[in-house]
Structure formats: structure tokens, C-alpha cells
């Protein structure tokens, strides 16, 4: 063990929590005490108790899991938050500040435990924060206090005499999804694998649980495993709450408009750099960059529209938390927008001759604009489908595909059609190849497998297959009616983006 991991004599406070499932009776007292203490509205919750029934009569049991924020030492929500509204206090509490939350839901996407939600009253992200407002005045959290069987304990992990230290270090404890490398500080004693693994238990038929409805809410992520179960013991989800995906069609559309924005600049740049398109053409000089600019403005618009607090969008740039790819992306697309403005400005001022030099900066910015979303998605640690090393490359291909499609529609000079058709076709083929890989390769986790299945064969199959078949159809007609092919490619690209973005969020995390 490295020296830094041993306990210093006056170690700083490090709050941790133990939930003792050898004591938990599944009574939901913690749920309502938390609602009361923190004024949590209906339809959302900071903590709840999941039930899973396992076994065959008469050897059957029910397992509970008090499900909530894990107070991760390496908290993905903190990394993903663009404004540091989600932050980790030095004493280990992952806390939040609603006054600077922009409502981007990046934290929700990032959390591998689905522990964060937008409060419908104030439109800001919240979650369990250890009842920090109580700890700081010397009181235990509301859930610990109410618990009839004293199953919820808090304490200083660095105090060897605390009850939590004793349990964490001496008992068999587990954390949820350690493979996400979040280093949770919520430890479960006596937890059952059938509850820890969100896919271990089968989702019951009929839209109900033992005494509640599964719910039919917008952007719902259905709970449990839709097939049999990810466990050879017969496990059925008996109680869960409705879960929601954070990012809706606006984010799907944003990835699309951003592909267009990047590609409409990159494709003419590529063709020009290869000598297949003269630098003096209107496609390079005005049309491509103009479409890129429009795409970029739509991208920004969608991003702001998707915020729960659109009036606070400026905080991304003025209160940046630099580890957030939303911040980094924000600066990239801002810079790219400035570059496009300069390009268009020069073009309109009649100094198009300077634009090729500008491309030394514009090219990398366009590439970054295209690919940064892969890193943004990768910050969503729980969404395994998005954790693909090929995603940056694929997004770049998609940008070229979009750019190609734009050119197919815009290009009028018959001499240019050939190269445009060729490169567009190549990008489509590359895209289809990458998609084929995504579909045919085995996925490394049950989560990714299920997400891919939802994308290809499940709820998002119509979008996915449109995303495959429309570009494929475009290949057939591209030589004869290039503009139509361009439209098919664009439509297909959006359909694919939507399937990919939504399927990535379609697997339960809790």
C-alpha cells in the first residue's frame, strides 16, 4: 500500500455511510423522512428502497437496497458539472449548489447510479448530500435518525473507532458498480448481488410491481432486465421507482447539427486540401462555412434550450469547471464559431484568399467540434454504450458524412460532383462499417449489450434502421440524384444519432 494511503495521525474528516442490509426491513421510512427533511417533490426522490424477490417457493427471499447517491470519492457528477454546482467537499461529501446549476443534466448523465434528478420546483439538480446541513450543526442525517432498525450509519472513515470504520474495514461490505472506478463511500453490509446489479432482476410484466405501477412517464428508463435475468437465481424486481433518461431528442438533434456544423466546413476543406475542390469555389468560400455557421448556431440554441436554467447558460463560459467536457466543448464551439465568423467575414470582404490560411486553425477546431462529444458522452460513466474508443473517430466520420451530404445538396458545378459523390460515399461506407462493428461485436458489459439490443432490436430500432438504410439507399442513388442522396444521408444520420443517444440512456442504472 502506498504511504499516502495509510492513515495520518490527524487525518482529515472523510464522511462515509454504511447501509446495513442485515438490518433493513424495507419500510421506506428513510424515503419519506428524506422527502420531509429536504422538501423533495413527488415524482423524484433522493433515496428509495428497491425490492427484489428471489428464489422458488418455499425457498424464497426478498432483498432490499436503500438506493441513493454513493458519495463517490471520484465523483463523475463533479467531473461532468460545467459550473462546479456539483462539488466534492474536502470532507468527502459530494454536495451541490443550486444557485449555479444551469440544469444541463450532465451530472445525471454522468452518474452511474442514477442518483441525481432535476427538482421540478426549482429546476436544479439535486441528490442525497448526506444532509450536510444537519451534519454541519452536529445532527445525524434524517434517514439515519428515522430508521427503526438503525440500518443507516454515518461516520468518519478516517476515525478508526467510528462504527462505519469498524464495519467498512472489518465486515464484508460491497459497493455498487465498483468497475466504474468512482470509489463510492456508501458501503453496503449484507447487500445482495441481485439488488446491487441493476440488471440482475427481471422486470415484471404488466407494468406493475408488487404494490405499485412501474409508471409511464416521459423519457422513462424501464427498470430491471427486460428478458429473463442477469443472474441464474430467479430474481424479480418487486419494487422500484420510475427512472428517467436525462437527455431527450434535443441532445440527439444537437449531435446531428454539430456534425453538420463540423462537416460542412471539413468536407470542403478536405476536398480543397486534396486539390479536388478549388479554394476559390463558393462551396469553400461561403456555402460550406455558412451552413456550418447555421449548424453551429442551431447547436448552441439546442444546448441552451435543453438547459433547465437557460438564463444561466453564460455560466458555462464565465464560471467554467475545466474538467467538464461541456465546458471544454463550449469553448471549442465558441472558438469554432469565431473562426467561422472570421472566415465568412473575410469572404464577404473579398479576402477569401486568406481563408485557406485560416483553415490551419479552422480544421482542428472543426475536428474538435465533431469529436469532443465523444468525450462528453464518455463522462457519462454509467452509459456503457458510449464508452467506445471508436466513438471519436466515428463522430468524425459522421461529420464528414454530414458535410458530404451538405455538399451533395449544394454543389452545382458538375466538375465537382464526382469528388463530392466519392468522398460522401466513402464516409457513408465508413459509417456503415463502424455501425456494423458496433452491432456485430460482442459488448463488454451486460449494460452495453442491452443498450445495443435496445438500439438495434428494441425501442429505438426504427430510428436505428432508418439510420442504416437511408444512407445505404443514398449510396444507390447518389450518382443519379446527388441532392436526394444528400437528404437521405442527413435524415439517416439524425435517425442514427437519435437511436444512439437514446439507447445509450435506455438501460437502468439503479
Amino acid at each position: 500500500m502506498p504511504a499516502t494511503d495509510t492513515l495520518p495521525a490527524t487525518a482529515p474528516f472523510k464522511w462515509a455511510k454504511v447501509i446495513d442490509h442485515t438490518r433493513c426491513i424495507g419500510c421506506h421510512a428513510c424515503t419519506t423522512a428524506c422527502k420531509s427533511e429536504n422538501d423533495v417533490p413527488l415524482s423524484v426522490t433522493r433515496t428509495y428502497v428497491k425490492y427484489v424477490d428471489t428464489g422458488y417457493f418455499p425457498q424464497a427471499r426478498r432483498s432490499f437496497q436503500v438506493t441513493r447517491c454513493n458519495q463517490c470519492d471520484a465523483a463523475p457528477c463533479v467531473t461532468a458539472c460545467p459550473t462546479a454546482a456539483m462539488h466534492r467537499r474536502p470532507d468527502g461529501i459530494v454536495d451541490f449548489d443550486k444557485s449555479i446549476c444551469i440544469g444541463c443534466k450532465a451530472c445525471i448523465a454522468a452518474c452511474p447510479y442514477d442518483a441525481i434528478f432535476i427538482n421540478p420546483n426549482d429546476h436544479s439538480a439535486e441528490k442525497c448530500n448526506f444532509c450536510a446541513h444537519r451534519l454541519d450543526i452536529g445532527l445525524e442525517p434524517a434517514c439515519s435518525v428515522v430508521c427503526p432498525t438503525q440500518a443507516i450509519l454515518v461516520g468518519d472513515m478516517n476515525d478508526p473507532l467510528s462504527a462505519v470504520s469498524e464495519i467498512i474495514h472489518r465486515d464484508a461490505v460491497a459497493v455498487r458498480r465498483p468497475e466504474k472506478e468512482t470509489r463510492p463511500k456508501l458501503f453496503y453490509k449484507g447487500a445482495d448481488q441481485v439488488t446491487l446489479d441493476p440488471l440482475a432482476a427481471r422486470r415484471p410484466d404488466g407494468g406493475i410491481f408488487m404494490w405499485s405501477e412501474q409508471g409511464d412517464v416521459s423519457h422513462q428508463v424501464p427498470s430491471g432486465h427486460p428478458g429473463r435475468w442477469n443472474n441464474s437465481a430467479a430474481a424479480v424486481l418487486a419494487y422500484d421507482i420510475p427512472h428517467r433518461a436525462p437527455w431527450d431528442w434535443r441532445v440527439s438533434l444537437y449531435t446531428f447539427t454539430k456534425s453538420v456544423a463540423a462537416g460542412a466546413y471539413l468536407m470542403p476543406l478536405l476536398l480543397a486540401a486534396l486539390g479536388l475542390l478549388p479554394w476559390t469555389t463558393v462551396e469553400w468560400g461561403v456555402r460550406g462555412p455558412l451552413v456550418a455557421m447555421i449548424g453551429l448556431m442551431l447547436t448552441g440554441g439546442l444546448l441552451v434550450w435543453d438547459l433547465e436554467h437557460p438564463e444561466r447558460f453564460w455560466m458555462v463560459l464565465l464560471k467554467p469547471q475545466w474538467k467538464s467536457w461541456l465546458v471544454r466543448g463550449g469553448f471549442i464551439i465558441t472558438a469554432y464559431g469565431a473562426l467561422l465568423a472570421a472566415h465568412l467575414g473575410l469572404a464577404f470582404m473579398g479576402r477569401a484568399d486568406l481563408t485557406p490560411s485560416l483553415a490551419w486553425v479552422g480544421g482542428p477546431l472543426a475536428v474538435l467540434s465533431a469529436v469532443y462529444t465523444a468525450y462528453l458522452f464518455a463522462q457519462a460513466k454509467g452509459r456503457d454504450l458510449w464508452q467506445s474508443p471508436l466513438l471519436p473517430a466515428h463522430l468524425l466520420v459522421q461529420a464528414f458524412m454530414a458535410g458530404g451530404a451538405v455538399l451533395l445538396i449544394l454543389v452545382q458545378d458538375p466538375r465537382l460532383v464526382g469528388p463530392v459523390v466519392g468522398f460522401s460515399g466513402m464516409s457513408v461506407v465508413l459509417h456503415l462499417g463502424l455501425v456494423a462493428g458496433e452491432v456485430t461485436m460482442a459488448h463488454p458489459t451486460a449494460h452495453a449489450t442491452l443498450a445495443a439490443r435496445n438500439m438495434v432490436w428494441g425501442r429505438y430500432a426504427p430510428w436505428f434502421w432508418a439510420g442504416v438504410l437511408l444512407p445505404a439507399a443514398a449510396l444507390l442513388v447518389v450518382a443519379s440524384v446527388p441532392a436526394a442522396a444528400g437528404l437521405l444521408v442527413l435524415a439517416g444520420l439524425f435517425a442514427y444519432e437519435h437511436a444512439y443517444v437514446q439507447a445509450g440512456q435506455s438501460v437502468p442504472l439503479a
Binding site: T32, F57, R62, D91, D95, I137, V145, V146, W211, E213
Partner: protein, 979 residues
């Protein structure tokens, strides 16, 4: 200051030091479960002005100042302590936490405690007295003043009393949630009009315990047990869920074993070391098999059995062997139970014999640390269910684990009901045949659920009928018969519903009078939750808070929302109006002692009780420099005693022994007066000897000991009462085959368990609690996969039609391994409804259409729940649509002939829903339900035919608001005084 500016190490060091500082200041540090420097509650010394940080403004440190005012939860029977946080600025309750000063709940609560705040802010609650303006049940109401309502009701009652129509007044209460207040009102009125819900609840178990020990409920000392044997689900529901769950888990952590009998997989069963899922009704066979084995192996506590069972009486009366030795008795006992082998019990219950043998070993080796519990469950489900409790307690009686540390106590020794001021001396002079019919002479509580049938049979009429925490249309079996009765002006003159919220019975009332929730009313409670005695005080917290601020509040309506009142003041005011001049001799019981001629205030009523009837409280209060009433208003609860121990083994002190007479059975009588006790917990009246000496105890092996309040003074293995009143075959603990025993079912019938509770709901009281509804809002039918496959129910959620003997209901299925094959189960906690066009609880009631043609009644669901506009933005976020199905409407009445308990289990046919069936459809023929009433009436052995002494009922049996002894005489039977 926000998080960004904090030095957290410094902060945490400072907070750590705060504990030492708190203690150094002499303030109370309430340690929390985490055993760190954090407290679970603010020091009580600061409850008057506690500063906490606002969770909403966080991490800005915005302060809130609150007064912490204790009260008692009313969201089940446990009466757990609550602490209301009353905002000092707004004078509104911000939240409820537990009360660390409460000895039963010890600061902890279940989900229903914190949810209380949603009930007091429920946008659909009733805020003003309402009077019916259309036809009864039509849903048209006009707001009236309290004065108008009170004068009207009081006038009717006065006329009835003047015209000697006492039996036309009835107060029908569900779970009372209080000790003694309203019974005192009935006694003061001289009205035998108390009616309870208990025969649809705990009467079965009560009878089982009562015939053993003269006290009718068990009080297991779980915390100190070695084995806890539960016929219950006390880790999630029931009496006394939270207090018991705490102690059960505590014992488990100390190495105790837990055995749970429950046919379905409950949250409790999942924690059991042995989960036994018996076929319903076979529980007694299991206990007898364990007992039989213990007796055969001589693993019972022979000294205890010899000392404390009435075995000599049994040997003499049943075996005709005077002077038989204890060994003779043991041989007889062994023979009596020989047939109950593990194999027999396995065949009856479906639980394998090996498991039963293992459980038997656990029972035998638990010794005096065997804590058993049964409250409703099997005892409330089955014909003969009372024998489930009787055979369960047999195991305590065999192991000597009666009132021992870790054993099972009678409730009365762990309960303290302080004697009130001006306790009425009179008893009702009449006998109410509508509640205590002579066909059921041995029942412990009123035959309440038979009321519509008794009224019909005996042409009954109630001039004034109060319902309180009672919703018979919904809760009772055969609710359509109740609707028929309640809408019939020939049966009910005036129905007054006392309720905080709309309920299915209030729809059929004439007055709906809004009463407060738990934090808006006064009550006294004391329940047997461990080996100790405590008194809890429920109070209107805003009244207490504003009084602390110097205001004088003389009427709880001054602080409650709208015109919501509380029953205590209502009854006092009503009584005053019934007898304004005192001419009826009633007013005196509500007249101030301090100010003669004036109405007693609640401060005087409770102040007197706390001054005079709660030992130790005046001293504790004095130590804090406050009056006992102020002490209780401040802390909400007081522990009178702990470690009560084996009262029956106590020697009767010499001052109580005067001119002693001992009879042949060893019962000891004395001329000494009964020492005045401030604890008026109900106990059976013990017969004096022929010369009128009071019974003080029983002689056991040469010593005069307290014994048990039974006719013999011992634990009654054999009950002379049962024997003499026509049931000799059931006088000892035995196994009665239930009405749903497999031999009583047709091939295509299954047993339906309809009684189980959910951890977050409470009967019909909690549908107005949004947080609870969000968690639990439907009640699908639990069915085993094998049965589902057999019936063609392919998937969970598929509709099934459940046919009872009087009708059917259509419900969703929940296919689960958590239920025994051949048995189905449906929680009773769901299926609330309101008729179209009525107001009601929009959070938790479906809108339905009621119709009836002749004797056939139907209910069909028109609309589930959904988002709605109200003063609470949350109601727009109701995401669920279902509220479950009201199955009890389809149940016929099944009164056990001895205990009187409704036997809830149903013989049903479960079928795939028919093409026209819609979810929630209910159809019932109430002619068939009346026929079922008559069929079960045939099981009875009436006092007319079986009373050994010309009375209606054995006098010693417990009975609320006991009438005068002369009223016990059967009117057409001689002049017997009732011995």
C-alpha cells in the same frame, strides 16, 4: 457563507467538540445510531428555540428557528412519538421527526411518521362541518356552523335519553388511538353504545390469550428473547410495527433466532431464520406438534407447568381424577396431543416435518426467552383462528416464558391507563343486542361487522350513529349491506361521521364533522411494546407552541386549519349541550372541579390526570420546575415503570390479607380493600367468595401469590368458561379446521388471504398522504406461477376474476414465488373510491359508478387517479393512475362463533377475466351475503341454549363499557344474578 469559503476540517472539529460542549453545559446529548459525535436530536433543553439550517437554500447557511413540540403519531396503532418542528416565524409545522423521549418508539418512526406533514397540508381535507342537503349518499353538502350541528345532535341524543331509548345511540370506532376518553363519555351517558372494529381485527387472537390468562393481548419482550416466534409481519406492519421491529432486530443482532409463520413472503419472513409458509389455518396444528414433541420429550418447564397451570381443575373436571399427581397430568397431556406429530402438522400445513422439528428444537431450547406474537394474521383469518393464539401461547406456557425476560407478557402488565378525573361510577342499565347478541355470548368485542344483518333481523333503529376512524363501508366485509343500511332512514336516523378526510362511509353520512390529525388533537395512549409501562400524550402542537409564546388557547379550533376540531373538546361540548342543566346526571362528569358550574377544560382534565394518576411524573416535572401538564406538553411521553417482571409470582402483601379465606381450588379471598391504583387498565372482574371477600390471589405451593386474573387464578389450560358455555371440545388448546381447510373447499377453489398490510399504508387513513401513495398504490393478486399456469394466467398484470361466495372482483395478477401454491393473496390496503360527482381524496381514490338492482350491487371504475390542480403544486405530479381494487365488498360475513372475529380468509375461484370484465369491476348479491350470515349463525351456541346461569355472557370476560350486572340477565330467563 457557502461551501466554498469553509474550512471543513475546522468545521468538523468544531462540530465534534460540540458533543462535549453540550454535555458540559448539562444538556442532553441524544446519541444516534452511528455512535459518533452527531446527535440524533437537538438537546431537549433547546427545543423551545432550535436553530437549524435550511436544506433548500443550502449551501447558503440560512437559519430557521423552530419550536419542537411533541405529539403522537396516528398513522397506525403503535402511537409512536413525533416531534413537530413549528416554525417560529410562520407558526406552521415544517416537519415531523420522532420523539427521543418516547420510550416505545425511542425517536424512530416508519414511513408513515414523517408523512404526517402531508396529511395536515392535504388539499382535499375537510375544513368545515358539513350537513347533507340532498338524499343520503347523493353527495350534496352545505357548510354549517359547529353550533348548529352540535345543537341538532345533542337535541336528538337528549330526547333519546329522556325517552329511555339509550340503545338508539351508538358510537362506532375503528382503531381508537386513545385510552379511555370516549369510553368514559359513553359511561357518563349511561349508554351501552360503544361499538368497535375489533372483531374484524384482533378479536380472534384476543380470545386465544384471554381464555389462557384473563388478559387479551401478548406483549413479547423481543429485545431480550432467544427465539422470536411470530405469526405476524411485525417488521413491516401491525401492532406495534416500529417499536417491535426495533426490538426484533436488536435481538437478532444479539444472536436471537427469528421464526415467522406467514403464508406469503413478507418483509418479515425474509429476515426469518425459518420462514414457514403454512397452508392458512394450519398454524395451530404446527404449534400443537411442537407442543406434543416437547411434552413427549419432557422438554417443557415442568416446575412452571406444575405451579401455574390449572391442571388439577382439568384433571378433576374432565378426567374425574381428584388428587391426581402432576405426573399423571403429564401422561394425560402427552396422550391428548399424541396425534399431533410433525408428520401430521406437515400434512396439514405443507411445511415439511424436518423444518418443523428444527423449529421445535429452537422453541424448546429458548426456555424462558421465547417471545411469541400473534395479533391478527391467522387468528383473524380462520374459523377457530382464536385457537392459533391459544396454541401459540401454549408454547409460552410450556416453556415458562410468561412475563419473563425475553418472554411474552400479558398486555395489561405492560400498559398504563391513568385514572381520569371524575370517572363515571354508573354503568349502562341496558344491554345492547345490536352489539352483543346472545348468539355470541363469549365474544370479547362487539359484533360490529354484523350490524346491517342484526338491524335487519331485529328491526333495529339507531337514532344517532357516530362513526370515528371507522369506515365500515370500505373496511368491513360486505360493504354493500352497509351502504344499504346507511341509506335507509328506517335504520339510521342520523349518521355523524367524525373524520379528518373523506371516506366511503362519510359519503353516506348526515353530518361530516372534521376532526384533527395526529398533531391537531389530544389523546392519551399507552401500549404494550416492551417490558415497561409508559404514557404518551397526543396534543395539538400549534396550541402548545402558541401557549409557549404566551397566548391563551381555550379551544383547539383556534389553532387548527379551517374549523377542524378534535374529539375531546367535541365530546365535552356535546355532552354539555345534551345535559345543559345537569338534570340527566351526565353533565357532572364534564364539570370543572376548580370552577363548579363551568365546563371542564382539557387543561384541567389532563392536568388532573398527570397530577394524580401517573406515578413519578409529578416528581419528574418538579425536577424541571414545571407542572406535570407542562412536562407532558414539553416531552410528550413518560415512562412509569420498566422491568415489570412476573407479576403472578409476586406475594400478596400482608396489608391486603385480612380475614383471608382460601377455597378448594387454592383461590385466596380477603376482606381488605382493593388498594387504589392509578392504573385503570381493563382487567376482568374477579368473583368474590360467598361472603363477599375480594379475590386477592392464589395459593401456590404454600405461598399466596398474585396469580392471573382468571376464574382459577392460574393459567387456564382448560377453560371452565368454554366448557360450561357449550364448547367442552374446545376448552383446551386445540386445532380447529378452518372454514378454508382444504376439505371444506371444492376442487376448483383456492384460499384468498385478504388481510395483509403494506408497510407504508394504514387502512383507510393514509390515502391523503402523497408520499405514501407514491410508494404504494395498487394491490394485485399474488398467485404462484404453478397456479397461474394452471388457470391460464400468462403474465403478471393479466386480469383475473376472483369469485367469492357472494360476488366477484376483477383485479390484476402478481405472479410470484412468494406465495404457497393453492393460495392467493391480495393486500387490503388498497381500493379506495369515491362515487362520481362526490368530493373525495383525489390522491388516493378512484372515481366509480355504483349501481344496484334488487339485491345485486355493482361498482365499476370510471377513472383512476392522476395529476390535478390544487394548492399543492405536487398534485400536478401524480404519475400513478391505479389505486387498487376494493375486495372487501365481495366478502361475506364470517363470524367465529366463539371469538366473534370475522374470519377473513375466503374460499374463492380464481378465473381469467371474462371478455367484458374491466379492471376494478365488483359485483355482489347481498341476498347471498345475508344467507352467509345465517349460515354462520348456525355455528353458534346461543346463551339462550347454553348459558349455565341465565346470563347473556360470562361476567368475568372483558367488555368495554360494562353494563350493570342486572343487564347481564337474559330477559326471559329467571332471576339469576349472573354468576
Amino acid at each position: 457563507m457557502t461551501n466554498r469559503d469553509m474550512d471543513f476540517n475546522e468545521l468538523n472539529r468544531r462540530v465534534s467538540a460540540a458533543r462535549a460542549e453540550t454535555e458540559a453545559r448539562g444538556e442532553t446529548f441524544y446519541p444516534g445510531p452511528s455512535r459518533v459525535h452527531l446527535a440524533s436530536f437537538p438537546p431537549k433543553e433547546r427545543w423551545n428555540d432550535w436553530v437549524e439550517l435550511d436544506s433548500k437554500a443550502w449551501p447558503k447557511r440560512v437559519e430557521h428557528r423552530s419550536m419542537l413540540v411533541p405529539t403522537t403519531c396516528f398513522n397506525c396503532e403503535s402511537a409512536c412519538g413525533l416531534l413537530a418542528y413549528v416554525d417560529r416565524d410562520t407558526l406552521q409545522v415544517r416537519k415531523f421527526e420522532g420523539n427521543p423521549e418516547h420510550p416505545g418508539s425511542r425517536g424512530r418512526n416508519c414511513a408513515k411518521g414523517p408523512a404526517t406533514v402531508t396529511q395536515i397540508t392535504d388539499p382535499d381535507r375537510i375544513l368545515h362541518p358539513l350537513k347533507r342537503v340532498g338524499d343520503r349518499g347523493e353527495g350534496k353538502w352545505a357548510q354549517v356552523s359547529w353550533d348548529e350541528a352540535l345543537d341538532d345532535i345533542a337535541g336528538r341524543i337528549r330526547r333519546a335519553l329522556e325517552e329511555k331509548r339509550h340503545h338508539e345511540i351508538m358510537y362506532h370506532v375503528g382503531r381508537p388511538g386513545e385510552d379511555g376518553f370516549t369510553e368514559r363519555v359513553m359511561a357518563a351517558w349511561g349508554v351501552d353504545g360503544h361499538n368497535s372494529h375489533t372483531n374484524i381485527c384482533s378479536s380472534g387472537a384476543r380470545a386465544g390469550f384471554h381464555f389462557w390468562m384473563g388478559m387479551d393481548r401478548p406483549s413479547p419482550d423481543h429485545a431480550n428473547a432467544k427465539l422470536m416466534l411470530l405469526v405476524s409481519s411485525h417488521l413491516e406492519a401491525g401492532h406495534y410495527f416500529n417499536p417491535h421491529a426495533q426490538r426484533i432486530m436488536e435481538a437478532k443482532k444479539n444472536g436471537a433466532k427469528l421464526v415467522v409463520l406467514d403464508t406469503r413472503l413478507s418483509n418479515t419472513a425474509t429476515h426469518a431464520d425459518h420462514w414457514l409458509s403454512p397452508y392458512p389455518g394450519s398454524e395451530a396444528a404446527i404449534f400443537l406438534a411442537i407442543a406434543s414433541w416437547m411434552i413427549k420429550e419432557r422438554r417443557h418447564d415442568r416446575a412452571f407447568v406444575r405451579r401455574w397451570w390449572n391442571w388439577q381443575e382439568y384433571m378433576e373436571a374432565v378426567k374425574g381424577r381428584t388428587g391426581a399427581s402432576f405426573e399423571d397430568f403429564e401422561r394425560v397431556l402427552e396422550e391428548e396431543y399424541r396425534e399431533y406429530t410433525f408428520e401430521y402438522a406437515a400434512a396439514e400445513s405443507g411445511v415439511d416435518a424436518r423444518t418443523l422439528r428444527e423449529v421445535a428444537e429452537l422453541v424448546a431450547s429458548a426456555g424462558t426467552r421465547l417471545a411469541t406474537h400473534s395479533w391478527r394474521s391467522a387468528a383473524a383469518g380462520n374459523l377457530g383462528g382464536w385457537q392459533v393464539a391459544r396454541t401459540l401461547f401454549l408454547l409460552n406456557a410450556l416453556t415458562g416464558s410468561v412475563a419473563t425476560e425475553g418472554g411474552t407478557f400479558p398486555n395489561s402488565w405492560n400498559k398504563f391507563v391513568p385514572k381520569p378525573i371524575r370517572l363515571p361510577h354508573q354503568h349502562p342499565k341496558h344491554w345492547n343486542e345490536m352489539t352483543w347478541p346472545r348468539e355470541y355470548p363469549l365474544v370479547l368485542m362487539e359484533m360490529s361487522f354484523l350490524l346491517p344483518h342484526l338491524m335487519k333481523e331485529r328491526d333495529g333503529y339507531l337514532d344517532v350513529y357516530f362513526t370515528r376512524v371507522y369506515n365500515p363501508v370500505w373496511t368491513n366485509p360486505d360493504g354493500f349491506s352497509w351502504m344499504e343500511m346507511l341509506t335507509d332512514a328506517k335504520r339510521i336516523g342520523l349518521h355523524v361521521a367524525l373524520t379528518p378526510t373523506w371516506n366511503e362511509s362519510a359519503f353516506f353520512a348526515d353530518y361530516v364533522l372534521p376532526m384533527g390529525h395526529s398533531s391537531e388533537r389530544h389523546d392519551l395512549t399507552s401500549y404494550e411494546q416492551y417490558d415497561g409501562q409508559w404514557v404518551g400524550f397526543r396534543q395539538p402542537v400549534l396550541r402548545a407552541a402558541r401557549e409557549r409564546l404566551g397566548e391563551t388557547i381555550s379551544d383547539t379550533r383556534q389553532v387548527n386549519p379551517g374549523e377542524v376540531w378534535e374529539e375531546n373538546e367535541f365530546w365535552m361540548d356535546l355532552t354539555w349541550r345534551i345535559d345543559p342543566d345537569g338534570s340527566l346526571g351526565i353533565r357532572e362528569f364534564f364539570e370543572s372541579r376548580k370552577h363548579p358550574g363551568k365546563k371542564m377544560t382539557l387543561d384541567e382534565y389532563y392536568g388532573w390526570i398527570f397530577d394524580h394518576s401517573v406515578p413519578g411524573l409529578p416528581d419528574a416535572a418538579a425536577a424541571e420546575g414545571v407542572t406535570p401538564l407542562e412536562f407532558m406538553r414539553r416531552y410528550g411521553a413518560f415512562e412509569v415503570a420498566e422491568k415489570i417482571g412476573r407479576v403472578y409470582e409476586e406475594r400478596v402483601p400482608d396489608p391486603e390479607l385480612e380475614d383471608v379465606h382460601m377455597d378448594e381450588a387454592g383461590r385466596v379471598f380477603s376482606r381488605a380493600d382493593n388498594p387504589a391504583s392509578p392504573n385503570v387498565v381493563p382487567l376482568p372482574p374477579l368473583e368474590p367468595d360467598a361472603e363477599g371477600r375480594r379475590r386477592v390471589g392464589v395459593q401456590v405451593e404454600g405461598e399466596i401469590l398474585r396469580g392471573f386474573p382468571t376464574p382459577s387464578g392460574k393459567l387456564e389450560f382448560w377453560s371452565r368458561t368454554l366448557h360450561d358455555w357449550g364448547w367442552p371440545e374446545l376448552a383446551t388448546p386445540t386445532y380447529v379446521k378452518s372454514h378454508i381447510h382444504r376439505q371444506n373447499l371444492d376442487q376448483d377453489q383456492m384460499c384468498l388471504i385478504s388481510t395483509f398490510r403494506l408497510p407504508v399504508q394504514i387502512h383507510t387513513r393514509s390515502a391523503n398522504a402523497k408520499w405514501l401513495d407514491e410508494i404504494a398504490h395498487t394491490n394485485p393478486l399474488w398467485i404462484h406461477p404453478a397456479d397461474a399456469a394452471r388457470l391460464g394466467v400468462a403474465r403478471t398484470g393479466d386480469l383475473v376474476r376472483v369469485q367469492t361466495e357472494i360476488g366477484y372482483f376483477v383485479v390484476k395478477s402478481w405472479i410470484t414465488e412468494g406465495i404457497r401454491p393453492g393460495v392467493v393473496a391480495c393486500s387490503h390496503h388498497m381500493g379506495r373510491w369515491k362515487p362520481e360527482g362526490h368530493e373525495g381524496q383525489r390522491l388516493g381514490m378512484a372515481t366509480v359508478a355504483l349501481d344496484h338492482q334488487g339485491s345485486t350491487w355493482g361498482l365499476s371504475r370510471k377513472k383512476g387517479v392522476g395529476p390535478f390542480e390544487s394548492s399543492d403544486p405536487d398534485t400536478m405530479r401524480v404519475w400513478w393512475t391505479d389505486v387498487g381494487v376494493h375486495q372487501n365488498l365481495t366478502h361475506a360475513v364470517h363470524p367465529d362463533p366463539i371469538s366473534g372475529a370475522h374470519c377473513w380468509h375466503q374460499a374463492v375461484r380464481v378465473l381469467r377475466a371474462e371478455p367484458g370484465d374491466k379492471y376494478g369491476d365488483i359485483s355482489v348479491d347481498i341476498a347471498r351475503s345475508h344467507a352467509a350470515y345465517k349460515k354462520w349463525l348456525e355455528f353458534t351456541r346461543s346463551a339462550d341454549d347454553h348459558s349455565p346461569d341465565g346470563t347473556r355472557r360470562p361476567y368475568w370476560l372483558l367488555r368495554p363499557v360494562r353494563p350493570e350486572r342486572s343487564a347481564y340477565r337474559l330477559p326471559d330467563r329467571g332471576t339469576g344474578g349472573g354468576d
